[in-house]
Symmetry: C2
DNA sequence: CTTGCCTGTAATTTATCATATTACAGGCGG
DNA sequence: CCGCCTGTAATATGATAAATTACAGGCAAG
């Protein structure tokens, strides 16, 4: 199982807002065209990014703007918002081990800490990566070949 | 989205094989009872663990046995076998970014390496954790309270 | 060598979740 | 005030995980 496309969609959105901010009006339909998904998906992701204080949205003939610089938006910030991180965790434990079996009775307790540790190193790595890193790569690539 | 329960089921299975190896005949039905899932799921997981050289299976009135000590079976070994790791990766990128948009045209290239790095730290942490660590915790807990 | 239990696996069903799509209410700016 | 845009509910579709049934084949005990 995998982390949903909402995460990479959100990264794409944020990168676009930055890239086009001085050129075009950035709307959910425009973003939907660039990302290649339905505008409603974009709106849902935008809505969560707004709640998290990552972007600012003004209705009407508007503009979506970044609420803070790209260097201060980490992959983890976006991941936490777009996927339901805290609820269940990255791992999905089987839910009905047999309480009459000594192993079944204790397996969850024995595993949960270890799984959390694994998830923690992943999240820490995500905190070290920012959307600015992506934007830099994209601008370099565009200069090279378009 | 999450890593499937097959992973924790496999850890449970391996722990059980070790725990009961001198006491009971360990079969897929017995394991299904301890894990709390259908025996067919157990057989499927066992089959993959066999392919990977982690357990040995003998048909007939048999016994499932470990092919190597618990200290040499890492979470990563099990994860790689039970989930389809190499195929798609942990992250699921949106698949149809617009090639006519400079951002859409380059977003995948800009993200893939960063996502792989994140996955890599997670997998390395998994390589540092072995099923023996789980077995130790379980035996300690059983001694304490049953 | 035969019999019974067990594995291997295909086929079908059910449940869940992600994404797509339609529809419409509400808000802001020109 | 009018038109475009966001916010969001409701529904449909598709993919995937897990449950379940069914049965062919193998090994070991006797």
């Amino acid at each position: 199982m995998q982390i949903s496309t909402k995460f990479t969609i959100a990264v794409h959105i944020i990168t676009c807002i930055d890239y086009f901010k001085d050129t075009l009006p950035v709307t959910s339909s425009f973003l939907a065209g660039s990302v290649g998904v339905n505008p409603v998906i974009i709106r849902g992701v935008m809505s969560k990014l707004k709640e998290a204080g990552i972007i600012a949205i003004s209705q009407g003939k508007s503009g979506i703007t970044l609420a803070r610089p790209l260097t201060e938006i980490t992959f983890y910030d976006v991941y936490k918002v777009t996927d339901g991180v805290n609820e269940t965790g990255l791992f999905h434990m089987h839910e009905n081990p047999n309480p009459n079996c000594p192993v079944g009775r204790n397996i969850q307790m024995a595993m949960v800490g270890k799984l959390q540790d694994i998830q923690a190193v992943m999240e820490q790595k995500m905190q070290e990566t920012t959307i600015a890193d992506v934007a830099v790569d994209i601008r370099r690539k565009i200069k090279q070949a378009g």
